[in-house]
């Protein structure tokens, strides 16, 4: 029984650590995009390195959590859903890493007039991601509060949609001097940043069902 208590404690710690990684990854992503827009490439490289470390650590934790849940038969009735939630949250940090790498490899030329829009998209997308973490933590501790926490995720996701739609409109309709390839590239980068809030929404959908099931 003592061994089992230790396993439980370790697993709880690992899940918390995993959430911390995602949370920190979002914070670093926000700073990374700002560094890129401010053309501070040293800081940008530093942020990419940090995100890569966090992503690799989150991957290890994900495998370890799923492994421990199966081998110790923990949460047998909710294991599948918890694994799915962890998979979706891992997708957030994967998206963060791949988006920053897109910036590093493709070095998109963002007109200064769009800096504010890009910061807004990043801000609201990251906020959606950040709001999913307390909701996911609440699923384990107070499932009754999960749904109210999810409202913020949906709000920031729709904000991201609005800002990115407006930015795309500006790019394709107002900025006549940009060529089509440049416009398409900017749209592609916006889609990447937007993907964080989309994934957060996916996690929110999953969590809201999980919360209903657990309180029933």
């Amino acid at each position: 029984m003592a061994l089992f208590t230790r396993t439980t404690k370790n697993l709880i710690l690992k899940i918390d650590e995993f959430f911390d990684d995602i949370d920190l990854g979002l914070l670093v992503f926000r700073e990374g995009i700002k560094s890129y827009l401010e053309k501070d490439m040293d800081a940008f490289e530093r942020h990419i390195l940090k995100v890569e470390q966090l992503e690799s650590h989150a991957d290890r934790l994900q495998r370890s959590i799923e492994n421990e849940m199966i081998t110790n038969s923990i949460l047998p009735q909710h294991r599948g859903e918890v694994s799915s939630l962890i998979d979706v949250l891992d997708e957030i940090i994967d998206t963060i890493k791949s988006t920053l790498n897109e910036f590093r490899i493709e070095t998109p030329e963002i007109p200064d007039s769009l800096n504010h829009n890009f910061i807004s998209i990043t801000e609201s997308s990251v906020c959606a991601g950040e709001e999913i973490i307390p909701a996911a933590r609440a699923y384990f501790k107070s499932p009754y509060t999960v749904r109210e926490k999810l409202l913020k995720v949906y709000y920031f996701e729709s904000e991201t949609d609005k800002v990115s739609r407006e930015t795309r409109r500006i790019i394709f309709q107002d900025m006549k001097d940009l060529d089509l390839a440049h416009k398409s590239h900017l749209r592609y980068i916006i889609n990447h940043i937007e993907k964080i809030s989309d994934t957060a929404q996916k996690a929110a959908d999953l969590l809201s069902i999980m919360a209903i099931k657990i309180v029933m």
């Binding site: 029984m1 089992f4 208590t5 439980t8 697993l11 709880i12 899940i15 290890r60 492994n67 081998t71 038969s73 923990i74 949460l75 047998p76 009735q77 909710h78 699923y139 384990f140 501790k141 107070s142 499932p143 009754y144 657990i214 029933m216």
Partner: protein, 413 residues
Amino acid sequence: MILLFLTSGLFLGWSLGANDASNIFGSAVGSKMISFRKAAIIASIFVIIGAVLQGSGASVTLGKLGAVNALGGSFTVALAAGATVYLMTKFSLPVSTTQAIVGAIIGWNLFTGNRTDMSTLTQIISTWITGPVLGGAFAVVLYMILKTIKKKSSIHLIRFESYVRTGLVIVGAFGAYSLGANNIANVMGVFVPAFNLNDLDLGIITLSSSQQLFLLGGIAIATGIITYSNRVMEVVGNQIMELSSDAALVVVLAQALVLFIFSSSAFSSFIESTGLPPFPMVPVSSTQVIIGSIIGIGLYKGARNINFRIVGDIAKGWILTPVASGLIAFFSLFFVKNIFNINVGTGIAENGGSIIGNTASASSAHSISEIMGFLITGLLGLGIVILILYYFAERKKKNELRKSEEKFWNNLK
């Protein structure tokens, strides 16, 4: 030959283990909270302990219903009950071992011309209703308490599940103990008046004649649990309603409490001392109590998920089981007596209640006691060896798992 008569009781014990143990650990095993092997070992040990230590209470009541006073009669009655349980299970009808044995004893009473003690019969039948109702009431109260604790404590889900798992093991052990204490009367109760064995000294405990029979019956139940209850365990619980792990814990605890109060003489005396009517010590159907508990939780949750068709089948079983068992017992007794010429029992004098008929004679009792002594010691020894082997096998499995885990992470690095 005398020991051969016991085989029908052992068969009944085996079917009780195969069917009723699933009530205790079924939801835990079905929901993968506990492995079948662990559940089977815990259930087996505690069923035997319960049967030996506390089995006499309920068997006295069963004895009042009909003191089967010949080995041939005990054999036939237990065989009829066992056959009823087997047949009803085969036709997928819900069955209660308690009702089967009660029906068979009444069949014996009718055949031998003995009067059925109506007050005892009423007492037993009333528990067929009060058992499930009490189970349901306990389940609702316990479920409400558990839900409130869970909501107010903000305990981590994983930690809560680990407590539920530990709770399931402890409550399951208590449930198995209560099952052994309460239901051993069904298995061996009919043999008690017909056997008179010498006390058996096992070093730490001295077993009386009835306790030796109960130990054998307990071992038969344990065999049923280990060999056959696996498939039953995996479907039970989810038949009437899908149970969450905390609901499973509540259901098992409610069932264990009901079985316990109907077999504990200490509890009965306590209730009597408070001025309330005492609880009768009667074998209660664990199946019906668990069904009552599940329905209780289902009603509390709004009765949306209850499969009422199964509930209807269970109600049919209440009538079908004792009637079928009584008929089988009556006709079997006729054949055993008239074709095989075996004494199946005689009428008991109304005034003195003395037993007429042949119990095991004094001369043969000594040799039977010796054989029983060897049998019980041998079986207990075998059980201990199996437990030790299981412990080492589990340890080996854990070590192999740990090694493969370490290898995986090393390769990943």
